[in-house]
Symmetry: C2
Subunit: 140 residues, 2 copies
Protein backbone atom coordinates (compact mmCIF):
# COMPACT_ATOMS: atom_id res chain seq x y z
CA UNK A 1 0.00 0.00 0.00
CA UNK A 2 1.28 3.45 -0.79
CA UNK A 3 0.36 7.12 -0.90
CA UNK A 4 1.85 9.58 -3.37
CA UNK A 5 1.86 13.32 -4.03
CA UNK A 6 3.42 15.79 -6.43
CA UNK A 7 4.00 19.22 -4.95
CA UNK A 8 4.81 22.12 -7.27
CA UNK A 9 6.20 25.58 -6.51
CA UNK A 10 3.89 28.37 -7.65
CA UNK A 11 5.95 31.42 -6.62
CA UNK A 12 7.02 32.98 -3.33
CA UNK A 13 6.77 30.19 -0.79
CA UNK A 14 3.49 28.95 -2.26
CA UNK A 15 3.10 25.36 -3.45
CA UNK A 16 0.24 23.34 -4.91
CA UNK A 17 0.11 19.74 -3.76
CA UNK A 18 -1.71 17.17 -5.87
CA UNK A 19 -2.31 13.78 -4.33
CA UNK A 20 -2.15 10.46 -6.13
CA UNK A 21 -5.96 10.32 -6.16
CA UNK A 22 -6.07 13.63 -8.07
CA UNK A 23 -7.06 16.16 -5.43
CA UNK A 24 -5.22 19.44 -4.91
CA UNK A 25 -4.45 21.90 -2.13
CA UNK A 26 -2.57 25.20 -1.89
CA UNK A 27 0.14 25.53 0.77
CA UNK A 28 1.81 28.74 1.85
CA UNK A 29 3.93 30.16 4.64
CA UNK A 30 2.96 32.94 7.04
CA UNK A 31 3.88 36.53 6.05
CA UNK A 32 6.38 36.64 8.97
CA UNK A 33 8.13 33.63 7.42
CA UNK A 34 8.25 35.14 3.92
CA UNK A 35 4.95 33.75 2.63
CA UNK A 36 1.65 35.39 1.74
CA UNK A 37 -0.84 33.18 3.71
CA UNK A 38 -2.57 32.06 0.50
CA UNK A 39 -2.91 28.48 1.76
CA UNK A 40 -2.49 26.10 4.66
CA UNK A 41 0.81 25.61 6.50
CA UNK A 42 2.34 22.14 5.92
CA UNK A 43 2.25 21.32 9.64
CA UNK A 44 -1.46 22.16 9.80
CA UNK A 45 -2.03 19.26 7.39
CA UNK A 46 -1.02 16.87 10.18
CA UNK A 47 -3.82 18.21 12.41
CA UNK A 48 -6.36 17.98 9.57
CA UNK A 49 -5.10 14.47 8.76
CA UNK A 50 -5.57 13.03 12.25
CA UNK A 51 -8.96 14.74 12.66
CA UNK A 52 -10.34 13.46 9.36
CA UNK A 53 -8.84 9.97 9.58
CA UNK A 54 -10.24 9.35 13.06
CA UNK A 55 -13.52 11.08 12.13
CA UNK A 56 -14.04 8.70 9.19
CA UNK A 57 -13.44 5.69 11.45
CA UNK A 58 -15.85 6.92 14.11
CA UNK A 59 -18.66 7.93 11.74
CA UNK A 60 -18.26 4.62 9.92
CA UNK A 61 -18.49 2.55 13.13
CA UNK A 62 -21.40 4.57 14.54
CA UNK A 63 -23.40 4.11 11.35
CA UNK A 64 -22.76 0.36 11.46
CA UNK A 65 -24.06 0.46 15.03
CA UNK A 66 -27.24 2.17 13.72
CA UNK A 67 -26.64 5.33 15.72
CA UNK A 68 -28.58 8.39 14.54
CA UNK A 69 -25.86 11.00 14.22
CA UNK A 70 -26.45 14.37 12.61
CA UNK A 71 -23.01 15.93 13.11
CA UNK A 72 -19.44 15.00 13.94
CA UNK A 73 -17.00 17.84 14.52
CA UNK A 74 -13.39 17.13 15.43
CA UNK A 75 -11.20 19.69 17.20
CA UNK A 76 -7.47 19.07 16.94
CA UNK A 77 -4.62 20.92 18.57
CA UNK A 78 -0.96 20.02 18.16
CA UNK A 79 2.00 21.30 20.17
CA UNK A 80 5.31 21.89 18.40
CA UNK A 81 8.72 22.12 19.97
CA UNK A 82 9.76 25.79 20.27
CA UNK A 83 13.18 25.13 18.70
CA UNK A 84 13.93 24.08 15.12
CA UNK A 85 12.82 21.85 13.49
CA UNK A 86 9.58 22.44 15.50
CA UNK A 87 8.71 18.76 15.68
CA UNK A 88 5.16 17.94 16.74
CA UNK A 89 5.38 16.53 20.28
CA UNK A 90 1.71 16.22 21.19
CA UNK A 91 -1.74 16.18 19.59
CA UNK A 92 -5.06 16.53 21.37
CA UNK A 93 -8.24 15.38 19.64
CA UNK A 94 -11.85 16.02 20.68
CA UNK A 95 -14.79 14.50 18.78
CA UNK A 96 -18.17 16.16 19.30
CA UNK A 97 -20.92 13.77 18.21
CA UNK A 98 -24.40 15.23 17.81
CA UNK A 99 -27.49 13.11 17.28
CA UNK A 100 -30.61 11.53 18.65
CA UNK A 101 -30.28 9.10 21.57
CA UNK A 102 -26.66 8.38 20.67
CA UNK A 103 -25.36 5.68 23.01
CA UNK A 104 -22.25 6.54 25.01
CA UNK A 105 -21.18 2.90 24.86
CA UNK A 106 -21.29 3.00 21.05
CA UNK A 107 -19.20 6.19 20.90
CA UNK A 108 -16.70 4.84 23.41
CA UNK A 109 -16.28 1.68 21.35
CA UNK A 110 -15.96 3.62 18.06
CA UNK A 111 -13.25 5.82 19.60
CA UNK A 112 -11.39 2.77 20.92
CA UNK A 113 -11.51 1.06 17.53
CA UNK A 114 -10.16 4.17 15.80
CA UNK A 115 -7.39 4.88 18.29
CA UNK A 116 -6.30 1.27 18.86
CA UNK A 117 -6.93 -0.41 15.53
CA UNK A 118 -7.83 1.66 12.48
CA UNK A 119 -6.48 5.22 12.39
CA UNK A 120 -3.39 5.22 10.14
CA UNK A 121 -2.52 8.84 10.85
CA UNK A 122 -2.62 8.27 14.63
CA UNK A 123 -0.49 5.11 14.24
CA UNK A 124 2.08 7.15 12.29
CA UNK A 125 2.14 10.35 14.35
CA UNK A 126 2.14 8.65 17.76
CA UNK A 127 5.81 7.75 17.27
CA UNK A 128 6.62 11.46 17.58
CA UNK A 129 3.62 13.00 19.34
CA UNK A 130 1.84 11.97 22.53
CA UNK A 131 -1.80 11.58 21.46
CA UNK A 132 -4.55 12.54 23.91
CA UNK A 133 -8.25 12.39 23.08
CA UNK A 134 -11.76 12.76 24.42
CA UNK A 135 -15.32 12.83 23.10
CA UNK A 136 -18.50 14.71 23.84
CA UNK A 137 -22.02 13.59 22.93
CA UNK A 138 -24.75 16.15 22.28
CA UNK A 139 -28.16 14.44 22.22
CA UNK A 140 -30.81 16.74 20.84
CA UNK B 1 3.97 26.91 19.15
CA UNK B 2 0.87 25.07 18.05
CA UNK B 3 -1.21 24.07 15.05
CA UNK B 4 -4.97 23.63 15.15
CA UNK B 5 -7.76 22.37 12.92
CA UNK B 6 -11.51 21.84 13.05
CA UNK B 7 -12.72 18.97 10.90
CA UNK B 8 -16.44 18.66 10.18
CA UNK B 9 -18.43 15.76 8.79
CA UNK B 10 -20.30 16.66 5.58
CA UNK B 11 -22.06 13.34 4.86
CA UNK B 12 -20.97 9.86 3.81
CA UNK B 13 -17.31 9.63 4.82
CA UNK B 14 -16.62 13.17 3.59
CA UNK B 15 -15.16 15.79 5.92
CA UNK B 16 -14.10 19.42 5.49
CA UNK B 17 -10.99 20.38 7.44
CA UNK B 18 -10.38 24.02 8.30
CA UNK B 19 -6.98 24.91 9.66
CA UNK B 20 -6.28 27.47 12.36
CA UNK B 21 -5.06 29.92 9.70
CA UNK B 22 -8.46 29.73 7.96
CA UNK B 23 -7.80 27.50 4.96
CA UNK B 24 -10.01 24.55 4.06
CA UNK B 25 -9.75 21.17 2.36
CA UNK B 26 -12.20 18.38 1.52
CA UNK B 27 -11.31 14.83 2.63
CA UNK B 28 -13.01 11.65 1.51
CA UNK B 29 -12.50 7.90 1.43
CA UNK B 30 -12.20 5.70 -1.65
CA UNK B 31 -15.40 4.15 -3.05
CA UNK B 32 -14.12 0.68 -2.01
CA UNK B 33 -13.92 1.95 1.57
CA UNK B 34 -17.42 3.47 1.55
CA UNK B 35 -16.49 6.96 0.36
CA UNK B 36 -17.14 8.85 -2.87
CA UNK B 37 -13.61 10.10 -3.72
CA UNK B 38 -14.69 13.74 -3.48
CA UNK B 39 -11.47 14.74 -1.72
CA UNK B 40 -8.02 13.69 -0.60
CA UNK B 41 -7.41 10.69 1.65
CA UNK B 42 -6.15 11.68 5.13
CA UNK B 43 -2.90 9.70 4.69
CA UNK B 44 -2.17 11.52 1.42
CA UNK B 45 -1.97 14.72 3.46
CA UNK B 46 1.23 13.39 5.06
CA UNK B 47 2.85 13.07 1.62
CA UNK B 48 1.72 16.58 0.62
CA UNK B 49 2.91 17.91 3.99
CA UNK B 50 6.48 16.59 3.72
CA UNK B 51 6.75 17.66 0.06
CA UNK B 52 5.57 21.21 0.69
CA UNK B 53 7.42 21.71 3.97
CA UNK B 54 10.76 20.62 2.50
CA UNK B 55 10.01 22.47 -0.76
CA UNK B 56 9.51 25.75 1.12
CA UNK B 57 12.83 25.28 2.94
CA UNK B 58 14.73 24.50 -0.25
CA UNK B 59 13.25 27.33 -2.36
CA UNK B 60 13.85 29.74 0.51
CA UNK B 61 17.52 28.74 0.90
CA UNK B 62 18.18 28.71 -2.87
CA UNK B 63 16.76 32.22 -3.23
CA UNK B 64 18.96 33.46 -0.38
CA UNK B 65 21.88 31.90 -2.27
CA UNK B 66 20.86 33.94 -5.36
CA UNK B 67 20.16 30.84 -7.45
CA UNK B 68 18.00 31.45 -10.54
CA UNK B 69 15.33 28.80 -10.16
CA UNK B 70 12.25 28.67 -12.37
CA UNK B 71 10.63 25.52 -11.01
CA UNK B 72 10.70 23.20 -8.03
CA UNK B 73 8.62 20.04 -8.22
CA UNK B 74 8.62 17.54 -5.36
CA UNK B 75 7.65 13.89 -5.86
CA UNK B 76 6.72 12.03 -2.69
CA UNK B 77 5.88 8.38 -2.22
CA UNK B 78 5.05 6.78 1.13
CA UNK B 79 4.79 3.10 1.95
CA UNK B 80 2.15 1.93 4.40
CA UNK B 81 2.09 -1.31 6.34
CA UNK B 82 -0.27 -3.79 4.67
CA UNK B 83 -2.05 -4.60 7.96
CA UNK B 84 -4.21 -2.28 10.06
CA UNK B 85 -3.67 0.46 11.08
CA UNK B 86 -1.60 0.90 7.86
CA UNK B 87 1.07 2.97 9.56
CA UNK B 88 3.44 4.86 7.25
CA UNK B 89 6.80 3.08 7.44
CA UNK B 90 8.78 4.91 4.75
CA UNK B 91 8.70 8.08 2.69
CA UNK B 92 10.76 8.83 -0.39
CA UNK B 93 11.20 12.43 -1.53
CA UNK B 94 12.65 13.72 -4.82
CA UNK B 95 13.11 17.43 -5.50
CA UNK B 96 13.48 18.45 -9.15
CA UNK B 97 15.00 21.93 -9.34
CA UNK B 98 14.87 23.67 -12.71
CA UNK B 99 16.74 26.87 -13.45
CA UNK B 100 19.66 28.63 -15.03
CA UNK B 101 23.17 27.63 -13.95
CA UNK B 102 21.86 26.30 -10.63
CA UNK B 103 24.82 25.21 -8.51
CA UNK B 104 24.82 21.62 -7.31
CA UNK B 105 26.61 22.68 -4.16
CA UNK B 106 23.84 25.17 -3.37
CA UNK B 107 21.12 22.54 -3.88
CA UNK B 108 23.00 19.97 -1.81
CA UNK B 109 23.35 22.47 1.04
CA UNK B 110 19.67 23.52 0.81
CA UNK B 111 18.60 19.86 0.98
CA UNK B 112 20.88 19.23 3.99
CA UNK B 113 19.51 22.27 5.83
CA UNK B 114 15.92 21.14 5.22
CA UNK B 115 16.45 17.50 6.17
CA UNK B 116 18.74 18.09 9.14
CA UNK B 117 17.59 21.39 10.59
CA UNK B 118 14.36 22.97 9.35
CA UNK B 119 11.69 20.59 8.06
CA UNK B 120 9.11 20.15 10.85
CA UNK B 121 7.13 17.51 8.97
CA UNK B 122 10.23 15.38 8.35
CA UNK B 123 11.27 15.75 12.01
CA UNK B 124 7.82 14.48 13.05
CA UNK B 125 7.31 11.68 10.53
CA UNK B 126 10.84 10.25 10.79
CA UNK B 127 9.92 8.71 14.15
CA UNK B 128 7.60 6.33 12.27
CA UNK B 129 8.84 6.36 8.66
CA UNK B 130 12.32 5.87 7.27
CA UNK B 131 12.90 8.99 5.14
CA UNK B 132 14.92 8.68 1.92
CA UNK B 133 15.54 11.56 -0.47
CA UNK B 134 17.34 12.72 -3.57
CA UNK B 135 17.41 15.75 -5.86
CA UNK B 136 17.76 16.37 -9.55
CA UNK B 137 18.86 19.63 -11.18
CA UNK B 138 17.64 20.59 -14.65
CA UNK B 139 19.70 23.50 -16.00
CA UNK B 140 18.07 25.02 -19.07
Amino acid sequence: MSVTATVKWTGGLQFVGESGTGHAIVLDAAPEDGGTNMGMRPMELLAVAIGSCSGMDIVSVLRKKRQKISDCTVHVSGELEPDYPHRCVSMDIEWVITGERVSEEAVKHAVELSMEKYCSVKATLEHSAKISFRYRIVNQ
